[in-house]
Symmetry: C2
Subunit: 547 residues, 2 copies
């Protein structure tokens, strides 16, 4: 027997319609790439997004067509999102931090028909124009005054297109499972793979993250999404902020400490979301200037593990509450959030920090398992680490065009590739990526944990730990150290520094000093490249074992 409730489809146009009708005069403030601060509101953004839809229809865009954006966070970028998605086309967010060849690869793989771009990215598009045969049109997100300087033959001016069109456009009316967005994962192995979000998955993600223990945005918040819209859906804030009626402050391309601080203060930001490196830049800036936050109440940290020092600085020095989050492009992206349980909230603030640096507990709708390599459940004791597998309506089922083949196990779980512990409070803590974990004698060693301790040595600029082949133990850890300029140190110094801080059998078998530790496009250590460079390396202990 089926229920007798209305068949309202969960399509994303309804989120902006809600914002427009009930929070129509709430502002979206953007720092434009052209320079000035631009202001609009949800009612106006809704009307302009409908003009974008009409412009796309006039250019021949049909339901299911991929339309890309290569842009910083701005109201125009949001208009493009809703304008594309509202008519059933697919909004493909391009990450400008990718190398040009990767960018061309994903544009071709997605078969993008149109690219919306900020002025910033015209040089790279112009240079590689002939490597994007599917792209019929470029739309530059600026006004006529800035088009001349753009020097991109045949490109259309966004503001002119918007001005020419009517804001009368019917949105939605299609199945909630219709594709809405496309985002490629950076792909540390093989080519980037596309995650094809549906209206339903983004809508459900929006509702789930709006919870008090989610991102918890309210109509009283002024939100600064520093996490880019091209980075895993901007953690859903381009949906949850209009859904809640929160004021939005879009930072454009300037994510340095002084620029971010200025926006926070001038616009009265109460809530912001970014990766740890951005927070470190911001904290350095206010430490140097002796400034304070007058409105900021709460920040979310995600993308990689938040250093304890960042958590403590926000909380103890500036009275800003910190919530750690974890997720991935394949999860829309939020999976866990660190809002305290009643038991944790009752602890001393010092004890709470132990949980603040963990990635938190799953949102409703995210089923999560901790397993060993044989898919057996592991204890939630805060010590045993294993693979994190997830399932639910906001989790990927397969990659675009079937790349990578079958990615779910027989129970429908997706292996996140993250290795973590789960404690008795349900809090997850990432210890490593599965491909980086070192398997020594059947036990796992966290490369990240050793790195994080080693980098605390006063002479260290960067540290990386990889597993090297060992005839007896399968793998043993090797510590690579890049020294700070002018510093000197021995392997003994580093081993001595680690002693007592990690288990004896975790101690690296070797310390190798290197000129350079390579970083990938997202600022993380590129272990794939390190392993390539170290492919001829042989452990001294391996030689001894063989000899």
């Amino acid at each position: 027997m089926l229920g007798l409730m209305q068949n309202g489809q969960l399509t994303l146009d309804k989120i902006l319609d809600h914002a427009s009708q009930w929070h129509g005069r709430v502002e979206i403030v953007s720092r434009s790439v052209e320079g000035p601060i631009l202001r609009t509101d949800y009612a106006e953004l809704n009307r302009r997004a409908r003009r974008v839809s009409n412009a796309l229809k006039a250019l021949g865009v049909k339901s299911g067509d991929r339309v890309a954006t290569l842009a910083w966070n701005s109201a125009r970028h949001m208009e493009a999102w809703y304008g594309i998605m509202g008519i059933g086309a697919v909004c493909h967010t391009l990450n400008p931090r990718l190398f040009a060849e990767q960018l061309c690869y994903i544009i071709n793989h997605a078969e993008d028909r149109i690219i919306f771009t900020d002025l910033t990215f015209l040089p790279i598009l112009l240079e590689h124009r002939d490597k994007m045969p599917t792209v019929k049109q470029f739309i530059v997100m600026t006004d006529e005054g800035h088009m001349g300087a753009a020097g991109f033959p045949g490109a259309l001016c966004y503001e002119t297109l918007v001005a020419e069109q009517s804001d009368d456009c019917a949105w939605g009316g299609f199945d909630e499972n219709t594709a809405a967005g496309l985002c490629y994962t950076s792909g540390t192995t093989g080519n980037p793979k596309g995650v094809l979000y549906s209206h339903r998955s983004n809508y459900l993600h929006t509702l789930a993250t709006m919870g008090v223990d989610g991102l918890g945005v309210s109509a009283r918040d002024t939100v600064l999404p520093i996490v880019p819209m091209f980075h895993a859906n901007a953690w859903g804030l381009a949906f949850s902020c209009p859904a809640a009626g929160a004021k939005l402050v879009m930072p454009g391309q300037r994510l340095d400490g002084p620029s971010v601080y200025e926006l926070i203060e001038s616009e009265g930001v109460t809530f912001s979301a970014a990766v740890p490196t951005v927070w470190q830049m911001l904290l350095n800036h206010i430490r140097e200037t002796g400034a304070k936050f007058s409105t900021l109440k709460r920040v979310v940290i995600g993308g990689s593990a938040a250093p304890e020092a960042v958590v403590r600085a926000f909380q103890d020095d500036y009275g800003v509450d910190v919530t750690h989050a974890w997720g991935m492009t394949e999860m829309s992206p939020c999976g866990t959030l660190g809002a305290p349980t009643a038991d944790i909230a009752a602890m001393s603030s010092e004890d709470q920090v132990r949980f603040k640096v963990k990635q938190g507990r799953p949102l409703l709708g995210v089923e999560m398992r901790l397993t060993d390599d044989e898919n057996r459940d592991l204890p939630h004791d805060g010590k045993t680490f294993g693979r994190i597998k997830v399932k639910g309506p906001t989790v990927v089922a397969e990659y675009f065009k079937g790349e990578g083949g079958q990615i779910l196990d027989e129970n429908g779980f997706f292996d996140t590739g993250d290795v973590a512990t789960l404690d008795e409070h349900g809090f997850m803590q990432i210890t490593d990526r599965a491909k980086d974990v070192i398997k020594s004698g059947g036990e796992w060693i966290s490369s990240i944990e050793i790195e994080n301790i080693a980098v605390g040595h006063p002479t260290a600029a960067l540290c990386a730990v990889i597993g090297a082949v060992h005839p007896k133990w399968d793998e043993r850890p090797v510590l690579l150290v890049k020294l700070k300029p002018g510093e000197t140190a021995s392997g003994e110094d580093y081993l001595g520094f680690l002693e007592g801080k990690i288990a004896k059998w975790w101690m690296p078998d070797d310390v190798v000093f290197v000129e350079d530790i390579p970083l990938g496009a997202t600022g993380k250590i590129d272990k794939k490249l390190i392993r390539d460079r170290m492919k001829d390396y042989v452990l001294p202990t391996a030689k001894a074992a063989v000899a």
Copy 2:
């Protein structure tokens, strides 16, 4: 093109599984009808609910069968809910406040096969046993020790059934549109009509109400749902509390001031939800005893308009934040909530009270219109009042078995039967029920507004305003007054009291003193009965106009 995200169905079993896995040791505390305080936790409640499922299957219950509950708020009642819904059967919540004949009518209309009941309701079931031919079995929610006294031949003991069964039972696995719950509206005209909730509608309602600006329950809350589970889904708290991992305190049948206060203090309640009359009883109690709230932070008021005095007492005298809510059985039930916007939050606390007594703004997913009788949109100016119409996946599409026929308009909107204003902040304020509004010369007069003012006269016990036929104006208001014992007053006294407080053309054409103003099953003034009693009444002004 469809998205490539997982096809996770939104079924309610997943909510309790989530609670059980991530908040397994969080308590559900119940004041049992037998007397003692009983304690369990989400893990145990999950296991016992699965035992209930197995007991139902053993009794022959199949997917789609209706299984009723006639019970106060308790952990056992929750176990029954999840146990019924988990196997695709339909949980029909019976309202014990209905008259016996109405109760029998809806049991027969629903074709309930089994009734779970508290000891409290055995006498009425026993008396009317032969009028419920579809009911094959009664399950008394108590232990063997209390069964003997029950004296209900053939009834089964809940605790015995639970003890006999295994907790291994597969839940869910069906379409999210499967019926989950059935709740009849009190039906002021015609017979009660059933609203058949789906798993999807309840799940989406759960997510929507978990928002900061919804009911906003978190894992740090201890929630006392005073609103009964048989009253419009207990505003969804039996779903949103486990979803959030909140501790639950179930008050059973004792909803008087001292009992409620005792539970709040002994269990550390932070959040509670109830109708205004319950809050008035509680406030009277603490005023009389000089007590304070040591943990209560926030209450939600719904069901009918909250008197300003209640709002002020909570906020000013006891530091408890008040959120007004509006909804109805047909809306799962929450439609609007009064969380302030940024503009309102910036006002003085005195100005904010004007919005605190309004019913608030719509949740995401609730589309809302304010229209006149010709379905034309009316301005959101806080003055113009019209019909409130709603649409969305948590709103009824049709009543059970098609009762009442087609209930949506050509745009898919459901007429709530409420008359209200909407202001420029999106805040709704109910002014009347559509059938009670008085239509005078093409304009509408709010019967409730006049009643609320008139009842402030020192001699008034109760006041009611109805429309009486008038040859020129169609209808004119008549004020009915029931005096307090020993008081005397004239019609002139009351008209004088109203003067200056309402528009001149709203002034009642007559004041009638009555012995009794009848109340319905939910404690509201029964205007249908009043109109019946007054059917031979003729307005003095009507006589004059005719003469």
